[in-house]
């Protein structure tokens, strides 16, 4: 499979999960395991353009596929607008759900460049966050969507620096 633009040829045990292949075989530990049952979405990666939960996806099912993980979304060291949005709008606290949340958001914005709040919330419904209450994650995705459209992001909703 191709992961973040690099081709890997490996023999894997048939029961190896994609997330374990990425983490343990390729050392890409940015993709996390939060539940093993595809509810929490911490393991979300993009396979052939669609976001999938890699904890319930066999590595062999991704044979020949193009896989993108959080390690691959920044280009030449420049943060992806979604990553920038999470930083600028405090879209993360402990950071554990963040890689999956970023990948779902990237997939959303590739399909829908101007999502409303409801569409954003629906798109990341499969990614659980226990820290942020999602408020600032929504703001982060709104920030990224505006940046990707070449527009000025909405102002942050906390008070201005004193």
């Amino acid at each position: 499979m191709t992961v973040n633009g690099t081709r890997y040829d490996r023999d894997v045990e048939p029961r190896t999960l994609l997330v374990h292949f990425l983490r343990e075989e390729l050392g890409l530990t940015g993709t996390h395991v939060g539940c093993d049952t595809s509810y929490c979405g911490a393991c979300t990666v993009i396979v052939d353009g669609r976001s999938v939960k890699s904890c319930t996806y066999l590595a062999v099912a991704a044979d020949g596929a193009d896989v993108r993980t959080v390690e691959g979304v920044a280009v030449d060291g420049t943060l992806h607008p979604v990553q920038e949005g999470f930083w600028e709008r405090h879209g993360l606290q402990c950071g554990f759900c963040t890689p999956g949340m970023i990948m779902s958001s990237v997939a959303l914005l590739e399909q829908n460049p101007a999502p409303g709040e409801g569409e954003i919330r629906h798109a990341i419904e499969g990614n659980l966050c226990r820290c942020t209450g999602y408020h600032n994650i929504v703001r982060a995705v709104e920030y990224a969507a505006a940046k990707m459209r070449g527009e000025e992001p909405p102002a942050p909703d906390w008070e201005v620096p004193s």
């Binding site: 530990t29 405090h90 402990c94 950071g95 554990f96 226990r130 999602y134 408020h135 994650i137 004193s162």
Partner: protein, 792 residues
């Protein structure tokens, strides 16, 4: 965005660049050469004797290195508890199991796949016993959770007082009974369930232990909120001095109290590593997490208010049974105690309480975000709403009529504790003005006139946090049982390095709260060193000063203050050095723009690198001055801190489905001074979400046999993005004088204020139907049943 630190300014987090690139290192991301993986056999029964365990097939499997049962590890136990009341947990079930999912055997194998295969090959013969799950049944003691042992551990009651911690108070009960007997008073009472919750950090717990035989020392990586306590506990268990155990809590993917415990898996991985001479890892699966980590809440109780018809509360009673689960762990029985610390809330009212701690055949309960205080706030603020409705008074007015007034602080409450500062009516008024309360009520009434079920819910709350005063150590709020007999002090090291950069090492660490950023702001503000020149280290007991951990909304108020004081001392020394270099008086030295200058002479400057260079070359220092430029401070506060606030929700209930929609959610919190408003708001957002989770979605549900029916995230639904609204926040600022920063703590406030806000709103929506109460969680079915029950 501001790039220089001003206390009270928004600064992007220092933590984030690594985390958003997937470069954050959590325990499961750290690999050691030759490491083995552990997995546990867990009980399918809530209460049973173990008649035999056959491990022969498992131990014969290729790649399996060891299988341990109670016989191998009994000497390591029981698992140390800080408040050691009740039966403590054996490292592995010893002759009997007492809750579903209790660990019975441990497998260590080449990898997690093989370990799990071996778990499946172990045969345990159980002889089931009756289980006790229901709290009233447990209190009745007819079925005992541990054979031959009473289920009732203790009852915290109105007669309790602790010299040096609380004032001795007369029993409020006679006055309350007298008030009830009067003709001109109203008494309202509600029995309510504050259901059990599974904390559910998104990062499961993970442990990696490595015994170094040559050094006679352990290295232990754990996703924990309390690395120093864990080091002490491991040292005590294995007979080592604590400096022979290095615990590292790297990135911690959410804590919320569940990682505030010493767990058997941490002990057992150390044991296995020592036995096998290899590093041993265990990573919790979501399926086992409800049993392998603690749960929270779990009270059933009756709240009663007696008051006049014009809204003066004459007495408040809370009588609750509190679920401890099968074993006592860290603070277990002390969690209800934290609740009674705030039982009277923001109100100057006589309070009587009995909190009975009972054992059941369920996993242990312990601190979960708020820890006793959300339960206490729930009972009080629900029954105040019920009282307001009974006397036909606006619930905001009833609250205001009974608040402590600003000039009464420091205020000694009905439970004998002294609150530092508060301005409750002003806070509630600020909220009411912000939401346009009268307009909101008009909107609600107009919707009602159309037949819609729309309601407004309000709650005030006060929290006790910032632990804590040294005297509380006598109540078990210390780490003495873990071999680290320190009160809950704060600690911080501030070191200006020879190149002028600054290293801050703190005794507490984040699990998402942004310590690196907030602490850097404190130090930057003191020293005028740019944020990007300040590195904040934490979580490694080998390098950090002794600290008790991150919990109880305590880090900033206690450890943050220690860091503030350490930086103040560094600043004093740096001023003396700068004065020497600039040939000026130390009192004329001012710090700004990356260095120091002489007041009134901005061109007479030295940079931090110049000051630091001098500090590390003592021949350039004033005569007799010691070299180096660092300080360690330990801060022990004289009191806890008492943040407070008011929350309001507008909800609509679908009468056909019982579905609750939150139309608006407002919070007006007061945590004293604020270092980084962005981070504080984020803490409130997350806290509210967890309170709403309890109010509307979450419940750890056990059947009569003690089987957990909500063991996956499908059956235990924590809120998703689609379930929640955006929140509208504002704050009032009432500083504390308990610490020089004037900060109180904010980690738990949102959770303490929110669950009853939602329930009050839903009950208000259903009030036209005659509904007086609906127990949480307010899932559609429960609300629909309340609607249809009321309609008859």
């Amino acid at each position: 965005m501001s790039t220089t630190s001003v206390l009270g300014g928004v600064v992007r987090r220092k933590e984030d660049p690594a985390l958003i690139r997937g470069e954050g290192l959590y325990v499961d991301d750290i690999k050691l050469p030759g490491e083995l993986a552990a997995a546990f056999v867990r009980s399918p029964f809530a209460h049973a004797r173990i008649s035999s365990i056959d491990v022969s097939a498992a131990i014969a499997m290729d790649g399996v290195h060891a299988v341990y049962t109670a016989d191998d590890v009994r000497h390591l136990g029981p698992v140390l508890a800080q408040v050691a009341v009740g039966t403590l947990r054996p490292p592995l079930a010893d002759g009997a199991v007492h809750h579903i999912g209790e660990a019975v055997a441990m497998v260590v194998a080449d990898d997690r796949y093989i370990a799990q295969d071996a778990v499946d090959a172990i045969f345990v013969d159980y002889d089931p016993l009756p289980a006790v799950v229901d709290l009233k049944a447990a209190a009745a003691d007819e079925i005992q959770a541990h054979e031959g042992v009473s289920n009732v551990l203790l009852a915290w009651s109105g007669q309790d007082w602790w010299p040096g911690v609380t004032d001795e108070l007369p029993d409020a009960k006679p006055a309350i009974e007298e008030a009830k007997a009067r003709d001109d008073t109203v008494t309202v009472s509600l029995e309510m369930v504050n259901q059990r919750l599974i904390p559910t950090a998104i990062e499961p717990r993970a442990v990696l232990a490595n015994w170094h035989a040559g050094y006679g020392s352990f290295e232990l990586w754990s996703s924990t909120q309390i690395p120093h306590a864990l080091a002490g506990a491991i040292a005590k268990i294995f007979g080592l001095p604590s400096n022979k155990v290095r615990v590292v809590a790297p990135e911690v993917g959410g804590g919320f109290g569940l990682k505030l415990n010493i767990y058997p898996d941490e002990i057992l991985c150390c044991f296995a590593s020592k036995e096998l001479g290899r590093p041993v890892r265990w990573t919790e699966t979501r399926r086992e997490a409800p049993a392998s980590s603690i749960q929270g809440r779990g009270w059933v109780g009756t709240a009663t208010i007696v008051g006049t018809r014009d809204g003066r509360i004459l007495g408040y009673e809370l009588d609750a049974i509190c679920d401890m689960g099968a074993y006592s762990q860290n603070f277990t029985v002390a969690i209800p105690l934290l609740g009674l610390f705030v039982a009277p809330g923001q109100y100057d009212i006589p309070t009587a309480y009995t909190l009975t701690c009972v054992v059941t055949n369920t996993p242990t309960t312990d601190a979960y975000r708020g820890a006793g205080r959300p339960e206490a706030a729930y009972y009080l603020e629900r029954i105040i709403d019920r009282y307001a409705r009974e006397i036909g008074m606006d619930p905001a007015e009833v609250r205001k009529k009974n608040f402590w007034q600003p000039d009464q602080f420091p205020a000694t409450t009905a439970v004998g504790l002294t609150m530092d500062s508060g301005n409750y009516a002003a806070n509630l008024d600020a909220l009411l003005e912000k939401v346009d309360y009268e307009g909101l009520k008009a909107r609600r009434d107009a919707a009602r006139a159309e037949g819609r079920l729309v309601g407004i819910g309000l709650s005030s709350y006060v929290e006790v946090c910032g632990f804590g005063p040294s005297a509380l150590a006598g109540l078990g709020f210390s780490w003495s049982e873990y071999g680290q007999p320190a009160a809950f002090n704060g600690s911080g090291v501030v070191r200006v390095n020879p190149d002028g950069s600054c290293t801050v090492i703190i005794g507490t660490g984040p699990s998402g709260q942004g310590h690196e950023t907030t602490w850097a702001q404190i130090v930057s503000d003191q020293l005028g060193i740019e944020l990007d020149q300040i590195e904040v280290l934490h979580g490694d007991t080998a390098e950090s000063p002794f600290g008790v951990g991150t919990f109880g909304s305590r880090s900033l108020a206690v450890d943050g203050t220690a860091t503030y004081e350490a930086s103040a001392r560094v600043k004093d020394k740096a001023a003396a050095i700068a004065a020497h270099l600039l040939e000026a008086a130390p009192e004329d030295i001012r710090f700004a723009d990356g260095g120091a200058h002489v007041a009134g002479s901005p061109d007479k400057t030295v940079s931090w690198p110049e000051i630091a260079t001098s500090a590390y070359q003592p021949h350039t220092l004033p005569d007799g001055m010691e070299g180096g430029l660092e300080s360690t401070a330990v801060f022990s506060p004289g009191n806890a801190t008492w943040p407070f606030g008011s929350h309001l929700a507008l909800v609509e209930v679908d009468p056909d489905t019982g579905n609750v929609e939150i139309l608006e959610y407002w919070a007006m919190d007061d945590c004293g001074n604020v270092v980084n408003p962005m981070i504080v708001d984020g803490q409130i957002h997350g806290g509210i979400a967890q309170g709403i989770g309890q109010a509307m979605f979450e419940a750890a549900i056990y059947d009569d046999d003690g089987n957990l029916l909500s063991s996956s995230l499908m059956d235990y639904p924590i809120p998703t993005a689609a379930d929640l609204p955006s929140f509208r926040l504002d704050r009032t600022t009432t500083p504390t004088d308990v610490n020089p920063l004037g900060v109180k703590g904010i980690g738990e406030a949102g959770t303490i204020g929110s669950a009853q806000t939602i329930v009050n709103a839903v009950v208000d929506a259903l009030a036209p139907l005659g509904v007086e109460h609906v127990d949480m969680p307010l899932r559609p079915r429960n609300v629909w049943q309340a609607i249809n029950g009321a309609r008859g």
